[in-house]
Symmetry: C2
Subunit: 275 residues, 2 copies
């Protein structure tokens, strides 16, 4: 068992843990860390891009649970060397995400630290949360968009190559309106943060299902993390309705497997570059 | 303007910011960071004590707003070198605080990092929040317990001297039941985290009042931070009721000033040892 799993196992057996966020009485609470030299290197992105992405990866969790993000709390540890201009760039990134998703920053903490370490809590609202546990035998399994680019861009960054500022590694693309629209047809969902294979393993464990793949999924696609695409399952009878809505929002659907009795495990480990 | 104030000024003009927590529709949301080499050094406390204190300083905010903490989200960055035994010690500290205050851990994030950096969000409930803005002209101003010891203990730690494991620096003492009981008589409140002088300056700014001190407050008392005692104001007519309740809960009261027209500023800077 890795340390993260060991820690989580010992900290709580709460029913709320194990999904993208915790659903309680109409609210979804989610919290993610975004730390320098763990999730990013400062050479890779501007401070505005870093702050923006730190919000987006958190907002992604809310959307994957069919919740609308409302409030954010930010814990921001800032290097002593940062100038007021640097601080302004950071606030611009946070505020850009807040504006796009209509989120209010309601609190948090600011401290001085050796490096830029951000933790964000998002409070969201939903009347119809979608969990990782809801996939049913026979469901079709689908992800949005294109997978693989993020990992390739990350490899480039490690080789000190430049990547496009439109790379999903810099600026993940979320599709909230599409997902809220199809939500009534969706049985289980999560975002793809660790890579499709690892996230399928989590979905398998949560919903107690296996997968019958329609075709082989390449490693390029399966182990690319931080994609923040949506992974979800639905009854085959809703396929056309979902495809129609996807077309309307210009979202690419990849229906790649059927949920079956069984269990899915991957041999791949967490891609995060800290390991 | 220091960097923290600069950042906060630029990040949000939200009415929710500027108190111990943000009150929205019956809930109070508060978030505090507790970082290695910023708030503690690992030689000073056991991992269990660190985790426990990281929770307590957050719970203190909820109590100071007359809210009952219900849920916690933890962002925990853990050094690679930590053993499973270390992780267990951490979880024990978190769980001890949760048990004492009947809090459920509902989520968060665990990552690998160079040092132990904790951020915690507490979700609390209250039907009668108390803000820093509520102090009225003529109010009596009071703090609980004894101030000064924490700073002395911190100085000892810097000199590599030992301190008692019962030191409030290791284990802050909160008085939730006392405060909930007197809450209906309280006009404004906050916890003492930066030191009485600095916190009085904040209270002055929030409530737009000054203070007439009944006697001189020594530097020993005024600049001792991380005390987590309660600072609050109330109408003189409620003095006896509050004193009676304090006696019942064995809480020491120090009524040291009267709120007057004016403004209070201190020449002292934030005591946190990061500076």
């Amino acid at each position: 068992m890795n340390k993260e799993d060991f820690f989580i196992k010992h900290i709580s057996n709460s029913k709320y843990i194990g999904d993208d966020g915790a659903f309680i009485d109409g609210f979804v609470y989610s919290m993610d860390a975004f730390f320098e030299n763990v999730h990013f290197k400062k050479e890779w992105m501007s401070l505005k891009q870093i702050a923006y992405k730190s919000m987006i990866v958190n907002i992604s969790d809310a959307i994957a649970m069919n919740a609308k993000p409302k409030y954010a709390l930010l814990s921001v540890a800032i290097p002593k060397t940062y100038t007021n201009k640097d601080l302004k760039s950071l606030t611009k990134g946070f505020k850009k995400a807040c504006k796009e998703f209509d989120i209010k920053i309601i609190g948090g903490d600011t401290i001085q630290n050796e490096k830029l370490d951000i933790s964000i809590t998002i409070v969201s609202k939903t009347s119809n949360p979608i969990f990782r546990t809801g996939a049913k035998n026979g469901d079709l399994v689908c992800y949005t968009g294109t997978l693989g680019e993020t990992r390739k861009d990350l490899e480039k960054l490690f080789k000190n190559d430049k990547i496009s500022k439109n790379s999903k590694f810099i600026k993940p693309i979320l599709n909230p309106e599409f997902f809220y629209h199809i939500s009534k047809y969706v049985n289980a969902s999560m975002d793809i943060s660790d890579g499709l294979f690892l996230d399928l393993e989590k979905l398998s464990k949560s919903s107690k299902i296996g997968f019958e793949f329609f075709e082989n999924i390449s490693e390029d696609i399966g182990i690319s993390g931080e994609e923040y695409e949506l992974l979800f399952t639905f009854d085959e009878k809703n396929k056309e309705k979902i495809e129609k809505i996807a077309k309307k929002y210009n979202v690419k659907l990849n229906i790649f497997a059927k949920a079956i009795n069984g269990e899915f495990k991957t041999e791949y480990k967490n891609h995060h570059f800290k390991d």
